[in-house]
Point group: C2
């Protein structure tokens, strides 16, 4: 286990999903389980290394979360997490406000905008309902979080480092700054930051308020330099603010805000323990029993940004071009259902199912189905599949980082080849050791799949080894230490 990280002063983490969710067990007792999602997994890996005075502020998501939060009357709760404690402050939002915050503004409006997923001739339509959701949902929940965070800063003596996470909370910082001028505010955006014209999908008042909200921080952080520069460029074009592209800063209200980038990675040690766990090995054995000569794998949330359809089109094309592969390859797609209540997502899932059926009908026979599509949420099975792939397809349309591209190589035991979209944040670190694909280019992806399966064994091993080295080197502790280092430098300057 890594040594404890030196934070220097009280730390307040803020993310929508927290490290734990509560449910009522069969016996009627309250049970806790670890929160889901890549960001929570990453931050949970961190908290094991953080000092005890760290507090994690998050949304109460379930009815039982709300009950537990109310029992503690707005104070942090100490939760046991393995051999450590983590202090959690769960924020109870009014139900309708939360729904509008989450299901109208954060997803889909901001998610779609930042991943360039809107079909602009038809959507979005900014209506009075959207504006109401922005004011009474997004802004209201953000203000409430700002109050809670300010309380925690004050509880810590008025000086603390606040680390806000992701697109749910662009409007939290202004309220915290106003109440707690001694706090250092840091916001990490985990999804792509598009160029300024993409923000013009929102009316001027909305887009300007979002950017100004972020500018109430001392640092706005991203996974890639490209995103950080796009953010500064947005400040200049949309708000007409002075930007220094060498120092990577923007000046607003006589304050200097730094844009920074830190590519997020894995808790390597924790992940490797999991990847070698009996549960994973049991899944591995089961998957291995049904494998053919070659296994192509993809692991994704069923999100429009993940480019699942074009991946199957490329596989179809590869089978057209290389009929000798018939019966010898399986494309295993582990797809976690997502946002089924949003029309676009339900439609996308249906299109995926139909395309897979078409491909299996076209190329398969009673003894062989070329695509195995699992629409389920089973992380342990995914990690088991990582161990077995010959080719891992990670071809997102646009993606802030994509941790599948890091987990896969770290777990893989076959010198499997990573096929990686040039539009994934992870491409900056891993592109040199992967087969790079352009996410819209079907034939190029088909060629990459074939190349991965037929590559010289030594080259496969070399590429795989290089990927693993990068992931091990750039682990989560390094990611976090780099942020703390910059915070310390910036604090001492001001």
């Amino acid at each position: 286990m890594a040594e404890e990280l030196e934070v220097g002063e009280p730390l307040i983490l803020v993310s929508n999903r927290g490290p734990a969710q509560f449910t009522v067990g069969e016996s009627g007792s309250i049970e806790m389980r670890r929160g889901a999602g890549g960001l929570v997994t990453a931050l949970s890996g961190l908290t094991r290394q953080l000092p005890d005075e760290c507090v994690w502020v998050c949304s109460a998501m379930t009815d039982t979360d709300i009950e537990v939060a109310r029992q503690h009357e707005g104070k942090p709760i100490d939760l046991e997490d393995g051999d450590r404690w983590v202090r959690v402050r769960m924020v109870v939002s009014e139900a309708e406000a939360y729904q509008r915050f989450y299901s109208v503004i954060a997803n889909p409006l901001l998610w779609f905008l930042q991943h360039d997923l809107w079909n602009l001739s038809r959507a979005p339509n900014i209506t009075a309902d959207i504006r109401a959701a922005f004011e009474d949902g997004y802004l209201a929940v953000n203000r409430h979080f700002a109050e809670v965070v300010a309380e925690e800063v004050e509880r810590a003596g008025g000086s603390a480092t606040v680390m806000l996470h992701d697109y749910h909370f662009y409007l939290v910082a202004p309220g915290v700054r106003e109440r707690c001028p001694g706090a250092f505010l840091h916001h990490f955006v985990h999804i792509p930051w598009p160029q300024p014209d993409s923000w013009r999908i929102l009316p001027a008042d909305m887009r300007e308020r979002l950017v100004r909200g972020l500018l109430a921080n001392d640092v706005v952080a991203f996974h890639t330099e490209h995103d950080a520069r796009n953010f500064l460029f947005t400040c200049r074009q949309l708000l007409d603010l002075p930007v220094d592209f060498d120092a990577l800063t923007v000046t607003v209200d006589e304050r200097t805000v730094a844009a920074r980038w830190y590519p997020i990675s894995l808790d390597v040690e924790g992940f490797e323990v999991l990847a070698g766990s009996p549960e994973v090995l049991a899944y591995e054995e089961r998957l291995n029993n049904s494998r053919r000569e070659f296994l192509i794998l993809r692991v994704d949330r069923a999100d429009l940004s993940k480019n699942i359809l074009r991946g199957f089109m490329a596989f179809d094309r590869m089978l057209d071009l290389h009929p000798d592969l018939a019966g010898r390859v399986t494309f295993l797609a582990l797809v976690q259902p997502s946002r089924g209540d949003v029309d676009e997502y339900a439609d996308y899932a249906e299109r995926i199912r139909r395309l897979v059926a078409d491909i299996n009908l076209k190329h398969g026979h009673t003894e062989w189905q070329p695509v195995a599509l699992h629409f389920e949420d089973n992380y342990l099975q995914a990690v088991a599949a990582y161990r077995l792939y010959d080719a891992l397809l990670v071809n997102p349309v646009f993606d802030g980082m994509n941790l599948v591209a890091k987990e896969g190589p770290l777990a893989n035991r076959r010198g499997g080849v990573l096929i990686l979209s040039e539009h994934a944040g992870a491409h900056h670190e891993l592109g040199a050791f992967a087969l790079t694909v352009h996410p819209f280019d079907i034939d190029q992806q088909a060629d990459a799949l074939y190349e991965a399966l037929t590559m010289d064994p030594q080259r496969r091993q070399d590429l795989h080894r290089a990927c693993v080295d990068v992931v091990r080197e750039n682990d989560l502790t390094k990611w976090f230490r780099a942020q703390l280092g910059d915070i310390s430098t910036l604090r001492s300057r001001s």
Copy 2:
């Protein structure tokens, strides 16, 4: 009539549509009619002022065009156009190459990309067919045009100014430059130039070849400063070329290429003659007989970029909010059918029809249909309608310039109010004298429609007068003269 423009040396205009199309008349004789489209109208207005040694190179579009072109064996044809002659060189492309050039690459691929219209989770799919269309269609037609243009430069003695127009011809300049180093090459892009990340929809080799093709010119021109800067930014980000954002230049292969902007406008004199013609006045009388108290007008090609659906949604919303307008207002939509062979366009037209039917059913009654939708190509009727509107809705999602926003006020006789999208190129000139709308904001557009109909008469007249003054001041001759002036300056420098 304006005096003849001083060009200084032979001029070769290049655009896909030319100033005339030929058809076989009822008697079997070959008949000529003027070409359609905003660009052709504008350039035709110009040619009346150009010296005789100007040649216009364009595509032979119809079977009769091809026949006429072949009769002239690759030489220019002198056509009578009113009181002047225009020399036209029609280029005959191989039919399949032309189809791929026009219907696969230029429209939809480049048009959709540059107007941000792709629904990226589903399209485009860059396949072997698309790549073949790029090589054997777009590039082949462009190379053929380059040869024809080079012939015309040589016929003119080796020194000429070549003015290439629009997104059909990004790959013409390299071939001309190679054969004719004495030519000055100028390319005008009439549609938006998006920011660099939008170009990442195309694989690196395709996007880089397109940009490098444009960079074989001496000047790349746009309608707005924003587009010109986006172009330079694209050169820097995608090709890593040195850019000077103060001088607005980019250096490539030891040459300096200038990005410039010149907002296109109307042939004011020609347009006013047309707007007062008996044909237009006859249409005006007919339209006026059926008008209610208020007339809202839109005039557009049925293009996905024109935002026709949201305009009707806004009208629906206005009627919801202001039931007192029932029976008193008509929304006349003159929509020119377009690209019905492209699925997205056929679907868009169908959605428009259904939405209009829904609105008429919801708000209308036997004595009053709130929306009058005309799906037809009738320019004279559109000009007649310009004379009559109280509010002209021009709300494109994204638009290079939009000449409806200029024609409308110039023809209007009622102090009508212009409602103009902040994303139309015309907004830079006319935004201050229009009601600015955000194209995605339905409620704001509804409010703007109501404000336009209920505005204080003096303010209406003042705004209208200001729009007319701008359009008159910035007329087509000024647009062209500015380009010739810059060309002369840049030529003398090199």
